[in-house]
Amino acid sequence: MDKPISSSSDKSKHRAALRALSYPEKVRVVVELQKMAAPILKARGKTVHIWPLT
């Protein structure tokens, strides 16, 4: 598991690193975020699709 980000300067560096990713890498992150959010949304009765990367 990734190390938690604690200080505000760590957070800014992390956000800058995310901004600098290539578009396909960013899409991979979006898909990971979808996987995290999907169970919560499904529990609320919403239909969601997690994107295939291909």
Partner: protein
């Protein structure tokens, strides 16, 4: 995502749409840090947009249905990706699409709206989630403030921008 973009490119080649560009959260993600979204918003110019009184997406939906891609709520599920087709219904969106950037997703060519147009569209649309994105846009080194000022002035959005972004 890649296959969905290939299908949308085919739609453009086949004349089902005249031109398209990615907008919304997935266009913003090109410029800023990634954030959660489940839909791919695609702005389109329809083939007969110049002389049409009413813009209809029926030919788009029919083309996709013939290939087995069916609608679900306001989207069409293309290769597992919910795609929302949005016709360019006002001059700001027309300009945004005309000036969209060509990019590559892996080896697939596509277009995204510029960050300045995304910011102006967010101001024009005026929803809470659009407003919430503005700080991310403003933090991005990619934002050309001079260009944005020009767009906001052209479309009468400067005052709302000032209201939204002043501390």
């Amino acid at each position: 995502m890649k296959k969905a973009l290939q299908i949308i490119n085919e739609m453009e080649r086949h004349g089902v749409i005249r031109k398209y560009a990615i907008g919304g959260a997935m266009a913003a993600t090109f410029y800023v840090e990634p954030f959660t979204t489940f839909d791919l918003d695609v702005f389109v110019v329809l083939p007969h947009a110049d002389d049409a009184i009413l813009l209809t997406l029926t030919p788009v939906y029919d083309y996709l249905a013939a290939q087995g891609y069916l609608p679900e709520k306001e989207c069409v599920i293309i290769e597992g990706v919910p795609v929302q087709f949005l016709p360019t219904y006002n001059p700001l969106l027309e300009e945004a699409l005309a000036q969209a950037r060509e990019i590559f997703y892996d080896d697939v060519s596509t277009r995204v709206l510029t960050l300045e147009h995304l910011a102006a569209i967010a101001v024009q649309t005026g929803r809470g989630k659009d407003r919430a994105r503005l700080p991310l846009f403003m933090e991005s080194e990619a934002l050309d403030h001079r260009r944005l000022d020009g767009i906001l002035a052209r479309y009468g959005l400067t005052e709302r921008w000032m209201q939204w972004t002043s501390p």
